[in-house]
């Protein structure tokens, strides 16, 4: 057991050192959400104006953008295991006495810490784009962001556990990340749209993560996904995300152990 903990911290440590060393990656994981926030906010904000009474478009979208930052970073860090394989570093890890399961757990935790740091920077930007934020909200957000990023790095790891080369990357980007992003209620509420869109969105675990985050910002009356007549509260949504994440991470560990 001690070896599992050591593995987790060694691997997480490396993820962090690497993240700091890899400036372009650090920059790129920010730039997209930031661009979305500024351009969509400025563009649609004018067009759409108020989404709901007292909530303008940027205030509606901001929680989604926050989640998107976490989503991109987590999935990408998870998939980064493909890089390790391709550049040979994974062999160094596999021939060491570190535990296989711990390697994936460590990657997920490293990814979560990085995602949290990026989330924190996005939070600092909130007042600038006219989104009110309080200490209470920040404290409520931290566990939500953590759960969301652990779950999504589980997804990234599951995808990466099998992949042999970076060629699959583009496909993953197009078939997983973009659909997950657009079908998650970042840009528009998931209820009151076409039924197929609504169903797909409600199957997407990211939807619940974003909804919980949105409820923290805008209050429970404004958001809330309704599933089978039940309107999900913050805790309900967090549990859904955590459970999906646990399944994904376990599956990733299983696939990884079986292969290597």
């Amino acid at each position: 057991m001690a070896i599992v903990f050591r593995t987790i911290w060694v691997i997480a440590y490396r993820e962090l050192v690497r993240f700091v060393a890899d400036r372009p990656r650090m920059f790129s994981s920010f730039s997209m959400p930031l661009i979305f926030l500024l351009i969509f906010g400025a563009g649609f904000g004018r067009l759409i104006g108020q989404m709901m009474p007292g909530v303008d478009y940027i205030q509606f979208m901001y929680p989604g953008i926050l989640a998107m930052t976490v989503l991109m970073t987590s999935i990408m860090s998870g998939i980064s295991i493909v890089w390790d394989r391709e550049f040979g570093f994974l062999k160094e890890v596999l021939v060491s006495p570190l535990s296989r399961s711990g390697v994936l757990a460590g990657k997920a935790i490293g990814a979560a810490i990085i995602a949290m740091v990026q989330g924190a920077i996005m939070l600092v930007l909130a007042p600038i784009v006219n989104v009110p934020i309080t200490l209470g909200k920040v404290l409520a957000l931290l566990p939500l962001l953590l759960i969301l990023s652990l779950s999504l790095s589980g997804l990234g790891l599951l995808i990466g556990a099998r992949m042999r080369s970076q060629q699959g990357f583009q496909i993953v980007m197009q078939l997983v990340i973009f659909p997950m992003m657009f079908l998650s209620g970042i840009f528009f509420p998931v209820s009151g749209v076409a039924t197929w869109l609504e169903v797909l969105s409600k199957l997407n675990p990211v939807t619940y993560g974003i909804d919980a985050i949105r409820q923290v910002f805008l209050g429970t009356e404004v958001a809330g996904v309704t599933v089978f007549g039940h309107t999900m509260g913050i805790v309900d949504s967090a549990i859904v995300v955590a459970m999906v994440g646990a399944v994904l991470l376990t599956a990733a560990i299983w696939v990884f152990n079986r292969q290597e």
Binding site: F87, K91, V93, P97
Partner: protein, 323 residues
């Protein structure tokens, strides 16, 4: 004590039998070489000993631990330098080494002096803060050797440690390896397909098509060739070969227009041969056999040439399809 004992290791990848029942043992403090052409099964053998691959059949113990049942003990007690680089390019040399130290649970008060000692030995101390992406191939190799030694392993595995390096760097790496053996009394298990380098080993196993065709000290292997190698060039090589085979009962081989064969007591043989040979000689030479000759004798093929390498690959492919 034997640090490595391998008995009858077999590894199959689907239809292809990459290793076909290999046995050997390596003593503490010994430099043991696995020599063979591309695709012979060297890396596969190393990977089995290092627990990265499970053997299809057979057993192996490394430092007294079973490579299948006691993987983590094996892993903890060995150092390994892979055939392809396995460094994190984004980290510095120092960071790569620290990661390794933490991964193997090297205590901090041991880690820092050890790290310094090894980086100095490999002449990388000044560049320790440089990112690996700025390192040359030779520097990477040296760093990987340093990393493999960081946790005081009792066996160091080196898979083609000098592949693709220039002659000076290769010599320097060999100097380090000899130095290391003296300092740390560790066993070194290495693979190579450079014949001249294999001379540095105490004992060599020659591997071909997944089998060991010979295993002995360099000197004994050379003695097995049967004396000295005579190489001649004549005005009619075909006729000369026929004569050598028929009248002289040698087993000559011809390569690049040069006929070579082995005789015992070459110095005495030479004058008699020159005066008695009916075909005009253009040149004649005598030398001690090299491992190249050993390989040639054992397999009937030459190891070094590119054509042979690619032929080997074709044959392997044919074998994969054939069975």
């Amino acid at each position: 004590m034997d640090v490595i004992e391998a008995s009858n290791i077999v590894k199959r990848f689907g239809e292809l039998e990459a290793v076909k029942g290999v046995s050997f043992s390596v003593k503490a403090g010994e430099i043991f070489g696995l020599l063979g052409p591309n695709g012979a099964g060297k890396t596969t053998t190393i990977n089995i000993l290092c627990t990265l691959l499970k053997p299809t059949d057979g057993q192996a113990r490394v430092n007294g631990h079973d490579v299948i049942k006691e993987r983590s003990q094996v892993r903890q007690s060995i150092g390994l330098v892979f055939q392809e680089p396995a460094l994190d390019d984004y980290l510095t040399a120092e960071q790569n080494l620290r990661f390794h130290g933490y991964a193997y649970g090297v205590p901090r008060n041991v880690l820092e002096p050890r790290l310094k000692e090894l980086l100095e030995m490999m002449e990388l101390w000044d560049r320790r803060k440089g990112k690996i992406s700025t390192y040359s191939g030779g520097m990477k190799r040296r760093l990987e050797i340093a990393r493999g030694l960081l946790h005081h392993p009792r066996v160091l595995f080196l898979d083609e440690p000098t592949l693709g390096l220039d002659p000076q760097t290769r010599r320097r790496i060999w100097d380090y390896i000899h130095d290391l053996r003296k300092r740390e009394n560790l066993a070194i298990f290495m693979t190579t397909h450079y014949m001249d380098e294999a001379e540095n080993c105490d004992r060599i196993a020659i591997m071909d098509y997944g089998r060991t065709v010979a295993l002995d000290t360099v000197e004994k292997l050379k003695d097995g060739v049967g004396g000295d190698v005579i190489s001649i060039k004549t005005e009619d090589n075909e006729e000369a070969v026929r004569l050598l085979e028929g009248q002289y009962k040698f087993k000559p081989s011809i390569e690049n227009g040069i006929i070579s064969f082995t005789v015992s007591h070459g110095e005495e043989f030479l004058p008699k041969f020159v005066s008695g040979f009916p075909i005009r000689l253009i040149s004649i030479g005598l030398r001690r056999p090299t491992l190249e000759d050993v390989f040639l004798k054992l397999t009937g093929r030459n190891i070094r040439e590119q054509e042979v390498d690619s032929m080997q690959k074709l044959k392997n492919m044919a074998k994969m399809r054939g069975h």
